[in-house]
């Protein structure tokens, strides 16, 4: 069966510091991968998606970036965090439909 992992589970970072969140998927090959941010009382906001190694599409211009160095690894990064980057970040995978989500990372920028 397929599983999806995210780490860290919780992260507290100062403003201006770098960020690296990692997501890995097991049990499937060439999945579509997604990064979402979830804000209170609102639907999930798609940040990035990838259909293959090295292929990244950005949905929202911001100070975040994503990379896919391996087939089942998806990384969300920032060079300098802003206060507004605080939130709950979710990674998801799909092989068509539906999307399956990871456990999420709660990021608090102080």
């Amino acid at each position: 069966s397929q599983t999806i992992h995210q780490w860290p589970a919780t992260l507290v970072q100062p403003v201006g510091s770098p960020l690296s969140l990692e997501c890995t998927v097991e049990g499937t090959s060439n999945p579509n991968l997604y990064w979402y941010r979830q804000a209170a009382g609102r639907g999930l906001q798609l940040l990035f998606y990838s259909v293959g190694i090295g292929q990244i599409s950005s949905e929202v211009p911001q100070n975040l970036s994503a990379s896919r160095p391996q087939d089942r690894q998806f990384i969300l990064s920032s060079k300098k965090l802003l206060l507004s980057d605080s939130g709950f970040y979710l990674c998801a995978w799909s092989a068509g439909e539906p999307q399956y989500f990871g456990p999420g990372t709660r990021l608090l920028v102080l």
Partner: protein
């Protein structure tokens, strides 16, 4: 996580009763729909899906109903249990591309003992 659902509509039901959670969508071209369950501090969990060529689909204790005429989707949970307490949200897409999913804000289900 605690960042989800701070100001969401809430549905409170007695344990053992049936629950009905509703979702309205706006895109008449939406072709595929999903219901997710999200417990506090966790990622969303897939519950059930339905395509636009169907109007009803049943799973274990759950039923999804789709009314394309009024663009309405509902999730029915039979014999609601304390473990069903969570935020439930729907997702829709007009095509097979995952990047085009639109997610609703969700409804918080509270099961009363």
């Amino acid at each position: 996580g605690e960042s989800v659902g701070l100001h969401l509509p809430t549905l409170s039901v007695q344990e053992g009763d049936n629950s009905i959670i509703n979702c309205a969508y706006s895109n008449s071209a939406s072709d595929y729909f999903i219901w997710y369950k999200q417990e506090s501090g966790k990622g969303p969990q897939f519950i059930i899906d339905i395509r636009s060529n169907m109007d009803k689909r049943q799973g274990q204790r759950v039923t999804v109903l789709l009314n394309k005429t009024v663009k309405h989707l509902s999730l029915q949970i039979a014999a609601t249990q304390p473990g069903d307490s969570a935020v439930y949200f729907c997702a829709e897409t007009p095509d097979n591309y995952g990047q085009n999913f639109v997610f609703g804000p969700g409804t918080r289900l509270s099961v009363l003992p």
